[in-house]
């Protein structure tokens, strides 16, 4: 029997749109949608890089009792800045209390027992927990009803965000009609996954060695961004803008600019295949 048939009314409650209530799939299964960057084949190597970036959500919280606007706004103030969270029972990390930062918390709407919030927060902040804790502080109880992620680091809810349907249509048009234009619009180059970190562009002659796992030395560098700092993850790019590798900087941008030679980036994750650029360093020996 269809779940929707046996439980049509249980999830309806005051103020919630009927259409939404009817479409609910399971009991403890709130609607969660939005920005989910999916890396294809090789790009999988570096997509982990966007996991630990800032996130933005829009969330519907259902309160279990009546709360005045003023009271709600006051309590929300407590959640701005540093908060302490214990990951929920069903989570993929160790359940110890963690410190997380909420950069922005905006009340968009408060209608009866429904609260619409916009949250800009650090990676690994549990929205379900935030909704629950909000209920505790209000003294009436609350839970997350619906969640939409509007940003994951460099990826946002903009014209690049596509639905499954659009992906499958674009793939169809390419496979069956040989038209790749739509697929090019649906799929972004892997380089979009590194735009938020410091960057170093290198000479053609240095690319081959890096692709083999060598560390980057000063003479190979053409330009670098000012935010390169010791210990920080940096993206090593060709002059054409292709991602070669991710590495850990050993010096700051200023220091590097004043150096003539020496290793300045330790190569951590090679992205580019070997053989794309010629192995110049062999000739020199």
């Amino acid at each position: 029997m269809d779940k929707e048939d046996v439980r049509p009314r249980t999830c309806r409650s005051r103020g919630y749109p009927r259409a939404l209530a009817r479409r609910r799939l399971g009991r403890g299964n709130p609607k969660v949608t939005g920005v989910l960057p999916v890396a294809l084949a090789n790009a999988t190597k570096v997509i982990g890089n966007v996991i630990h970036t800032v996130k933005e959500y829009v969330m519907v919280v259902q309160l279990h009792g009546d709360v005045k606007d003023k009271e709600l706004l006051d309590v929300l103030e407590n959640f701005k800045g540093t908060i302490y969270q214990k990951p929920p029972l069903r989570s993929s990390v160790k359940r110890t209390i963690r410190k997380r930062t909420i950069f922005e918390l905006e009340l968009l709407e408060h209608n009866d027992r429904y609260v619409l919030l916009r949250v800009l927060c650090e990676a690994g902040t549990y929205m379900r927990k935030l909704a629950h804790d909000l209920g505790l502080l209000l003294g009436v109880g609350a839970h997350m009803r619906e969640l939409r992620r509007t940003r994951t680091g460099p990826y946002r809810e903009d014209e690049t965000l596509v639905r499954m349907q659009e992906v499958s249509e674009a793939l169809y048009l390419w496979k069956n009609e040989g038209d790749e234009r739509y697929l090019r619009r649906v799929i972004l180059p892997v380089e979009t996954a590194i735009v938020h970190i410091p960057k170093i562009m290198i000479r053609d002659t240095a690319v081959g060695a890096i692709a083999h796992g060598a560390n980057l030395a000063v003479p190979g560098i053409v330009r670098l961004t000012r935010d390169v700092e010791p210990g920080k993850l940096v993206a090593i790019l060709t002059l054409k803008g292709e991602l070669v590798a991710l590495g850990q900087a050993l010096k700051s941008a200023e220091e590097i600019a004043g150096m003539k030679r020496g290793i300045v980036v330790k190569t951590k994750r090679v992205y580019m295949k070997t053989g794309v650029y010629p192995p110049v360093w062999r000739k020199n020996k």
């Binding site: 294809l40 990826y155 799929i187 053409v222 060709t238 803008g241």
Partner: protein, 88 residues
């Protein structure tokens, strides 16, 4: 426009589109050869797919992992991954 100039423009463009900014320190001038490598937006379609990311609007219902598995199967790829689960 030279190849290196196009490459720089591309990186700056995708960076500012995402709301970030590159402040470059130039150490030396150099150009890049057209004989190897390719501008990221001029990769052949197969290569473009294999080096691509989809900014997907996750549908309600399936988990992030299920969605990734579908994409992987649709494209017939051996590997696919996502940038952070969306069921917090």
């Amino acid at each position: 426009m030279g190849l290196a100039e196009k490459g720089l423009k591309f990186i700056d463009k995708i960076t500012s589109h995402a709301g970030f900014k590159n402040e470059w320190i130039v150490l030396r001038e150099d150009d890049t050869s057209p004989d190897y490598g390719v501008l990221p937006y001029e990769r052949g379609i197969e290569e473009h797919i294999r080096n691509g990311v989809i900014n997907l609007d996750k549908p309600p219902g399936p988990t992030s992992h299920e969605v990734v598995a579908w994409i992987k199967k649709m494209f017939g790829l051996e590997r696919a991954g996502h940038g952070g689960t969306l069921e917090l």
